[in-house]
Symmetry: C2
């Protein structure tokens, strides 16, 4: 039983935390949760292995929580794929993120005591439920733990910031290119192939996430394929030129070049710039 609940972290990182069976549900220990979060296991945590967290399964299309629902728990994704969405005043969905294994969900509900977004399963999912009350009392007991939540939120904030930067200043090609590379890196971090993978979301959802229409996403993918940066066939993607995809030139829309930094890094930048022009010419 102990052996099962304490698999070596290096192994658990690349496959779902097994947890243990009890009363027909899966449960995870604090140690399991830490390894899932890639947090250096808390020294004292093993003494608290009696604290267990419940797993819940969701099928495609189901929602973990919805906008306005009272906030009471954080969720950690153990396996499967999700999207999180905001709803504007007209009820239109705007995709905010595509959480994957190890990601924390529901953080935006802490402030107003109700969730500000919705999390929708894009596949069968297994999530660990962390009641917020339990979490914060644990945080008091293990300062490293609360620091790690600060870390998670801070990272999330930084991600959202660079997302805003991207939406504000990059061309469609650059957005799609970076999106693919980001996905690739996350798959790779999970132990899957970073070169070949299947998209779990529709063009519509990608477009909503990137601030583009589904047609533009489709066209851009087709263009990338034609040029040879990738191979697409429906939702299957093979990346062939990640460096170029990652650095595709921003057509300088917010030309907010600080006058100090004008002619910086000519060589490296212009390589990807030329590549972008090829793309447009094709």
């Amino acid at each position: 039983m102990f052996a099962e609940s304490r698999i070596a972290p290096s192994v658990t990182i690349n496959q779902p935390v097994a947890g243990r069976q009890r009363a027909g549900h899966l449960w995870s220990s604090l140690t399991d949760v830490c390894s899932l979060l890639q947090v250096t296991p808390i020294a004292a945590a093993s003494t608290a292995d009696d604290v267990v967290f419940q797993h819940v399964q969701f099928k495609t299309g189901q929602r973990l929580f919805t906008v306005g629902q009272p906030f009471d728990a954080l969720y950690i994704l153990n396996s499967g794929f999700l999207k999180t969405v905001m709803l504007d005043e007209a009820g239109n969905e705007q995709v905010l993120s595509f959480p994957m294994k190890g990601d924390v969900l529901g953080v935006d509900g802490i402030h107003a005591k109700q969730y500000m977004s919705e999390a929708v399963a894009l596949s069968s999912c297994d999530v660990i439920v962390i009641p917020f009350k339990v979490f914060s009392s644990l945080g008091r007991k293990y300062p490293e733990l609360e620091l790690s939540l600060y870390g998670v939120m801070s990272r999330e904030l930084a991600r959202e910031q660079s997302m805003a930067g991207m939406l504000g200043s990059l061309s469609a090609e650059a957005r799609v290119g970076r999106f693919l590379v980001a996905l690739s890196e996350r798959y790779a971090a999970m132990g899957y192939s970073g070169k070949e993978f299947n998209l779990r979301m529709t063009r519509q959802e990608i477009g909503s996430y990137l601030g583009l229409t589904l047609e533009t996403v489709s066209r851009t993918l087709s263009a990338f394929d034609r040029i040879g940066y990738i191979a697409v066939e429906g939702r299957s993607i093979i990346l062939k030129d990640m460096p170029t995809l990652k650095t595709l030139r921003r057509l300088p829309p917010s030309q907010s070049r600080s006058k100090e930094v004008v002619a910086v890094k000519k060589s490296a930048a212009d390589v990807s710039f030329d590549a972008a022009e090829d793309l447009l010419a094709a």
Copy 2:
């Protein structure tokens, strides 16, 4: 001394926390900080009035911290105006926010132990420095305090999310309109007039923040003025039709209308829709 350091919250909200003079610098108590953050004063805080936080002054153009600088403190803006910016790979500035009194700065540095953005003074500023070590130990002593940091970060995250939504789906007019209204509401919350105020930032900076060019910002403001939604003259703004500015129609770019919600709220929505068309016609 007590009287000075514990001004009634209702008063301190609308004017800089005075703090107390000591060794040529201003200092604030924990109670002062709480009132600045609009956090319900911590019950036990008065017993900890020996904990004081240093104020620091910055002049226009100076930076509170820069990208890559080791993270060691959070900052709370006591008076003045700032911008925070990210730098892309080419060194171009992208404006992320325009912090005002009571806002917390530096949160994005927690995760990687170094600041991910820069904070630049747009006017003379007075900020309170909260060494993060001090903060987290205080958090352990006063759970309400740490909860309030969670709250701040969570709110910040939600703000950033709706910002991303706005960048991804709203027209230039809608962005500028909402920007003005948001500014207005923040000025009002600080006790200033929400109807008439001066912009503290350039068109360039507004554009960078909204994902537009300075020309588009300028043109949009001129158009608003022509129609009568506002009166502009350089950086002075008078809002004349806030409801319309706030609800200016989103030209449906990411037409991700969920099929359930199609013909919702006709009357209210179409009023602002018509208004938007007037704008474009003018």
